[in-house]
Structure formats: C-alpha cells, structure tokens
C-alpha cells in the first residue's frame, strides 16, 4: 500500500506541499497549450485561477470559515477547470464557472474536504449546460507556425473546428483520417498535443509524465488512472467498431480528456475512494461510463460526466471496502 491520503489525516503542512506539487505537474500542458492554441489559453487559465481563488476567499468569509487560499486547492480547481474548457471561449466564461465550482460545488455542498462532487467538473458541467454554443463550438485548429497571437481578437468565430471525437462520432474514422492525416500521424499529433480540444487536455504525453511523477512521489496511487484507462481501452476495443472487437483503443485513450481525467480529476483526494479495491472499482466505473457516453450518449466526450456520476458513489464504496480493523486475521495486517 502507498501512503493513504484520506481527507481526515490531512495536516496543514503536507496538504500545502502536495497541492503545490500537483500545480507544478499541471503547468507543462498549459505552457505547451500556448504554442498549440495561442496566448489566450494562458489568459483564460489565469482568469480561471484568479477567480477561483477570489471566490474561495469571499465564500469562506461569507460562511465564517477560516480562509485557506494558501493551501492551493482553489488554484488546482481553477487550473483544472480552465483545462477542460475550449480555447476559444470568451474570457468571462471561467469567472461564472468559478462561482459555481467553488461557492456551490465546494462550499455549499459539503465544504473543504467534504464536498461530494469534483468542483472543477461541476464548473465545467454548469458551463456546458449554460453556454452550450460557446462550450461546444469554440474549438480552435492547432497553430503549426508559431503564431501564438493569431486567435486574439474578434475574428475567432470564423476559424472554429470540430474535435476529433466529434468527427469520429458523427462522421466515422475515414473523416478523421481525411482531416488529420494518416493513422501514425494522428497518434503522433495526439500524443504530443497538436489537435483540437480543450485547453489542457490535448497533450497526452505531458499529462502522463505529470501523473507518473505524482505516482512516483506517492501523492496519488496507480489504481484509479490505470483502471480508468484500461477499462476505456478494453470497452472501446470491444464495442467501438462496426463489429465486436474492432474498435481503436489507442485512439480512444489519446483523444478527449481521458488522460487528464484519469490522472488529475478522478484522483482528487476528496471525491475519490481511499481503499485500493474501491479505487479500482471507481476507476472501472468512470471508464465504463465514459465509453457509454462516448458511444451511445448525446455528447462526443463523456469523461467529465462519468467522473461526476461516480463521485456520489464514493461514500458507498468507502463503506463497503472499509478496512476491518477488528477482524482477528485480516485486521492484523492492516
């Protein structure tokens, strides 16, 4: 077993350290996204983080609770929320998302350490429901010539594109190849991050490296990411093609927000289980729901809703797989 970091054993010092390490691991995809989608991704992220921190301070003041901005959890929420919104949205969108994420999802629905749902994802779901047009059409084609200021200014509407998952869902794999080139080229681009998508979700490799570092530092365990990714790969392989067992698991894992979701969102301490078996089941649930939404649902991508749907199951999982401390044989090992 790795170090168990359940909410109830947090002490101020270690929480701060963990949180700022997570922030550091999240930064490389953001820096790369500036070169993929332009400088406005940085602006959106800064606005998102700043408004999350501000809302956190204000709501803690309002609710007569100690202000805890310094622990960095609001910063992570802000970063993650920015990472899962499209790069071409208006700048005021993350501010509204921050109010929903921090004030409602985090402080009203439980408070720090006890919130049921992942705040960043609630923020995104709220934005999706409220601004469906902006949130589903503000995708930008990646910049390939280094002109990072191209999408600044009012002409953004004219250049929007569709995400790979959208193309795959509505037009099939051949349309995807037509748009993004041969399969090996697609894998390469998707791995590095040069594809349309949300701000911080495109670079599979940087997210993977960040996640692996967190696992190495034992801030998160391998269970949830591995079970999410394996479930998605298996189920896509089985049901994603025209006939059984002809789906493309690699593409499914590299596209959408799966990597980001598996490593940084499904592993959120407060909203994921702390026992190994429960983690595996939680991850499998997230993976299965993701595939279900991707293949059969109305939206092309389902990671966000899959995690949100599994969040309320966590208390039950914790209860079922609670270590039995007083059992005569097994209890001794734990």
């Amino acid at each position: 077993m790795t170090v168990s970091v359940s909410p109830h054993v947090k002490s101020g010092q270690s929480v701060e350290k963990i949180m700022w390490t997570v922030v550091a691991c999240l930064l490389p995809p953001l820096i790369l996204s500036i070169f993929i989608f332009g400088i406005q991704t940085l602006i959106i992220s800064i606005i998102s983080v700043a408004s999350c921190a501000a809302v956190e301070a204000i709501s803690q003041k309002l609710l007569h609770r100690p202000v805890t901005i310094k622990d960095g959890s609001a910063v992570i929420t802000g970063l993650l929320m920015a990472y899962v919104i499209p790069p071409g949205v208006p700048y005021w969108i993350p501010i509204l998302g921050a109010v929903m994420a921090i004030y409602v999802a985090k402080h009203l629905l439980g408070g720090i350490g006890f919130n049921i749902f992942n705040p960043a994802l609630i923020g995104r779901a709220f934005l999706m429901a409220t601004f469906p047009v902006a949130m589903t059409s503000a995708w930008l084609p990646p910049i390939r010539d280094g002109a990072i200021f191209r999408y600044m200014g009012p002409a953004v509407d004219a250049v929007t594109t569709a995400t790979p998952l959208y193309i795959l869902k509505h037009y099939g794999p051949s349309a995807l190849m037509e748009k993004f080139g041969s399969m090996p080229a697609i894998y390469g681009d998707f791995l590095v991050g040069w594809r349309p998508g949300c701000i911080g979700e495109t670079s599979a490799i940087l997210i993977l490296l960040g996640g692996l570092y967190l696992i190495y530092r034992r801030y998160i365990t391998w269970h949830i990411p591995v079970s999410v990714i394996v479930t998605v790969a298996l189920l896509t392989w089985a049901f994603g093609g025209k006939t059984l067992f002809t789906g493309n698991p690699l593409l499914a894992v590299l596209s959408g927000g799966l990597m980001l979701g598996a490593f940084f969102m499904a592993t959120d301490y407060v909203t994921s289980p702390s026992q190994a078996t429960a983690k595996l089941i939680f991850g499998a649930g997230v993976g299965a729901l993701t595939v279900l939404i991707r293949l059969k649902g109305g939206y092309p991508e389902g990671v966000c809703y899959a995690i949100l749907l599994m969040n309320p199951v966590v208390p039950a999982l914790e209860e079922w797989f609670r270590p039995r401390r007083f059992a005569p044989q097994k209890g001794a090992q734990q």
């Binding site: 509204l96 409602v104 709220f126 429901a129 409220t130 601004f131 469906p132």
Partner: protein
C-alpha cells in the same frame, strides 16, 4: 391537533408566508423543481392546485365525521382524484382555450403531496369555512412559490418575463434546465430560513 383557533384571515396568510408549501413545508417539490421554468407555468399550476385544494378541503371537512380513521388516506386520495378528473373533464369540455394551456397541469395534481397533507392535518379536523380559507391560502402560497421560482428561472434562463423579452438576450441557459430547479428552490429556502432567523433574533432581543 385540536381544531384551529386562528381567524380566517390568519389561515389565509398562514398558507402564503408562515407555512408556505414550497419554502416552509417543503411539500410538492417535484413540480417546484420540474415545471417551474416560467412564470406562466407557475400561475397555471397554481390556479389548478388552488381549485383542487379548495374543493378537496371542503369535501373532506364536510364528510369528516363519516370517514373511518383507518381508511382516511385512501379516502383523501379518492377525493383528490375525483376532483382532478372532474375539473379536467369540465375544462376540456367547456373551456377548451383554458384547457389547452392548463390541461397538462391539472392531470399532474393527483400525486401532489401538498393536497393530501392539508387534508390530513387540517381539513379533517376543522370546519368547512376554516378549511376553505386554509385551502385558498395554501393554493395561493403554492402559486406564489411557483411564480417566484419561475420568475428567477425565466428571467435568468430565457431573458423573458411572461414571454415578453425584457433583457434581449439569454443570460444563463442553465436556469432553464431541471438541475436549476433544485438550485433555485434551495437558495430561496435558505433565504426564507435566514429571514426567519433574523426575525426571531429580533423578537428575542425585544423581549429582553
């Protein structure tokens, strides 16, 4: 609960403020969340509930001495169902214009908790006049609650009030969706509780 000592006017205001069905009694939350998307929906459902509540309350308080206590709930359900059916049929037959707007709302009412609850805790113990005023108050209180939620949701979700464009744009589409129903009801309930808190604090301070 013994027969009420309140005056008719008190009974009337009681349903609207002190014991507002939605915000204070937390009854009939399904419609409050589900179809409170516009002010018009609130008014329509409010009228429908008002009629069914008043008719059922009066009926039950008329026959209260003949109801066997063991079967009172089935009797209430039967009474409500009868009145809903009667109102539905009469509207459909003689007021087709109103039925076009209100038909779907009337049919919903059979399953409303608020009506059964008022029959159980009020109408079966009180006189017909008191029950009538209680029914009117409850119906209007429900209508007021639905309209308040509908006002917020319609304004923020569609930028309109009663179908008239007031904002010229649609601010937050979220408020049209069912999830926002929970959101609005929760926030408004909190506001009601807060007002009560402040009011009680003031009262206590005055007493001292």
């Amino acid at each position: 609960m013994p027969a009420t000592t309140k005056t008719n006017f008190q009974l009337f205001t009681n349903g609207i403020l002190n014991e507002n069905p939605i915000f204070r009694l937390a009854l009939s939350m399904c419609p409050a969340v589900g179809i409170s998307t516009t002010v018009m929906n609130g008014i329509m459902l409010g009228i429908a509930v008002l009629f069914v509540q008043v008719f059922s309350s009066c009926t039950i308080s008329l026959i209260k001495n003949y109801i066997h206590p063991r079967i009172r709930i089935p009797t209430y359900t039967l009474t409500i169902a009868t009145w809903v059916t009667v109102i539905d049929l009469v509207l459909a037959a003689f007021l087709p214009a109103a039925y076009k707007e209100m038909g779907i709302f009337v049919k919903l009412i059979v399953a409303f908790a608020i009506i059964t609850m008022r029959l159980e805790i009020f109408a079966c113990k009180n006189s017909v006049t008191s029950s009538f005023w209680d029914g009117v108050g409850m119906g209007l209180g429900f209508m007021f609650g639905m309209m308040a939620i509908g006002f917020v949701r319609e304004l923020l979700g569609m930028g309109t009030i009663l179908g008239h464009d007031v904002l010229g744009f649609r601010p937050l589409l979220f408020f049209v969706l069912p999830a926002a129903g929970f959101f609005c009801v929760g926030i408004m309930m909190a506001m009601f509780n807060y007002v009560e808190l402040v009011y009680n604090r003031k009262k206590r301070a005055e007493k001292r």
